[in-house]
Subunit: 342 residues, 2 copies
């Protein structure tokens, strides 16, 4: 079975903002502009009050003429479903010659008008939240190249941003590297990857193996994490991803002040040390030399002084670098990876 | 969402042996007769040399007249698919008024003749290898009643037999208990359960929660395990099952002499102590009082003396009872559970 193509979704993108007027609901669009500006050609707003991502405004026909290949749905629609206005917009984009990429729960092809228009126009529909392929069972075979995996004390603690920042820093230092997305926003940002939480459990480690194939010995795969080994619902996702990724290094991601698992107030968030200890223990099954390579914090609620103290304490405790991807970027950990695995 | 009915597959069964002449390929049929003799009315052999399960021979029409409700496919077909002779046999059983239950990979309804016959006859098709239902996310909420979960140092080390033997022993002592099946053979034996390895990873802990619902405080769910936390492909299945089961007690199952994970010669099998230690550590997430309640061995390759020595050593090391479900039954562990959780 072939490995997933790292750039399966064609760029550049036209980002559909639609009539969304709440910036919070346009997180996907803002994330794309922040982390993959080079893949974003233009935005398409359906009304004057819609959120502005800071991209040129183009219609599908104009965007296609300018080279756009895919319309990406950049906002979370109210209620999670397709409104008639959206369906009409997507059909218009298909007729203009664009593929469609969506991170929504509802599959694009489940809307008859969209399925029919894609068929007529010969365009592709990418439902990135869904695992479209079957995967083989994991083999446990060691692969060539290096891998660093983000792991979290909880969901939504900055794993994707940490991975993107470390990937960007490795490339800036001239190290060959891929960001490997494991969730829908990451897939849209990088144009490839696997929504591992949608894979049948028997095959999740196999999917993780397929995500980071054999590579040049100097190459790094920077793998976005999912869930947390301490999460009462998602830990299986995390463990399958750990085993199949067979990481050489892990980065623990944490949001200081998050005392309990989000949505599970009876479940305390583990400390960074507890998280690192358990993840390293289970990760040794498929890579006995795995090591902690850094800690990534979301310090948005901290003062500069408090952040500095936290970083100093962390570096002293673990003897690895410390980042906040939105404040420091990922270079400290990139430099450590290069040095530690020379 | 309602919990799965514990007896969703109607008994008694007519077991299809077909033309299978190899006892090894009739493991499901033999397991049904051994562990659920009261659910097995008759066998249906399509030729004289077919394996004899020790049941009366009846045709579907005669079995239906005698009260049979479901034709269970009791053998693994050569090549894993449906032959024309099998399709004809299944259609005949449907027309005689029987439901069909199959543990095969190929879904019954994927064969047009079978789907049409089931529709005509108004009968149900049970593909027990497949998870037919959607499950909610795990909540982590503590449920009433007691739970004991089998965990293994590898796949195929006797987890199902250990669970069945312990369940049988609890019932013999008058303790209210259910065997909760997590794989296809267990589902056929008990008539209910969930093939947890076929559940999408996000929902596996939720499926495990649904499998053992709230119960009377004195009630025990004896939960068949799956995989191993040390298995490079299946550990995610095991972890989701552990977290969702929130077991009060675990039983470690091991096959002495199995030095590497079956099919993964580079992965050593853990010791019973290593397995218990890691499983207890991760299980504490959803039940901090979880404890080791016994060790179950497959001692089929050992002399009586060697078995006695192994049991004595194990009891000394762990201070819990030791069984081989095929030799001793499960009473030693059942008695310990009753005593330890009085």
């Amino acid at each position: 079975m072939s490995v997933p193509a790292p750039f399966d979704i064609d760029a550049p993108y036209l980002i559909l903002v639609g009539d969304c007027s709440q910036a919070l609901n346009a997180k996907t669009g803002f994330g794309l502009v922040h982390w993959a500006r080079e893949r974003c050609l233009a935005q398409w707003r359906l009304q004057g009050e819609a959120v502005d991502l800071g991209l040129p405004d183009l219609t599908p026909a104009a965007a296609a003429a300018a080279g756009a290949r895919t319309l990406v749905i950049g906002v979370a629609p109210f209620g999670g479903g397709f409104t008639p206005a959206w369906v009409a917009a997507i059909v218009e984009a298909l007729e203009a010659g664009l593929d469609i990429a969506s991170g929504m729960h509802t599959r694009l092809a489940s809307v008859p008008e969209i399925a029919a228009a894609a068929q007529r126009a010969g365009r592709r529909l990418h439902d990135v939240r869904h695992a479209v392929r079957a995967f083989p069972l994991a083999t446990g075979r060691r692969r060539t190249g290096r891998r660093v995996l983000m792991v979290g004390t909880d969901c939504a603690v900055g794993k994707k941003y940490a991975a993107l920042a470390i990937h960007r820093a490795l490339e800036a230092r001239g190290v060959p590297a891929h960001f490997r997305a494991t969730g829908q926003t990451g897939i849209l940002i990088s144009g490839g990857g696997i929504a591992v939480d949608a894979v049948v459990t028997d095959f999740i480690a196999g999917a993780a193996e397929a995500l980071s194939p054999d590579a040049d010995p100097s190459h790094w795969d920077v793998i976005e994490g999912q869930g947390s080994i301490f999460h009462p619902a998602y830990a299986a996702v995390t463990l399958g991803l750990i085993h199949g990724s067979q990481p050489d290094a892990i980065v623990v991601c944490h949001h200081p002040g998050r005392d309990t698992i989000d949505g599970y107030p009876e479940f305390p968030t583990p400390s960074v040390a507890e998280c690192a200890d358990l993840v390293l223990r289970v990760a040794r099954l498929t890579n006995r030399d795995v090591q902690l390579a850094g800690v990534s914090y979301n310090t948005s609620a901290l003062s500069d002084d408090a952040r500095g103290q936290l970083f100093a304490d962390t570096i002293e405790q673990f003897a690895v670098p410390c980042i906040d991807p939105m404040v420091t970027g990922g270079d400290a950990i990139a430099a450590h990876l290069i040095e530690a695995f020379r």
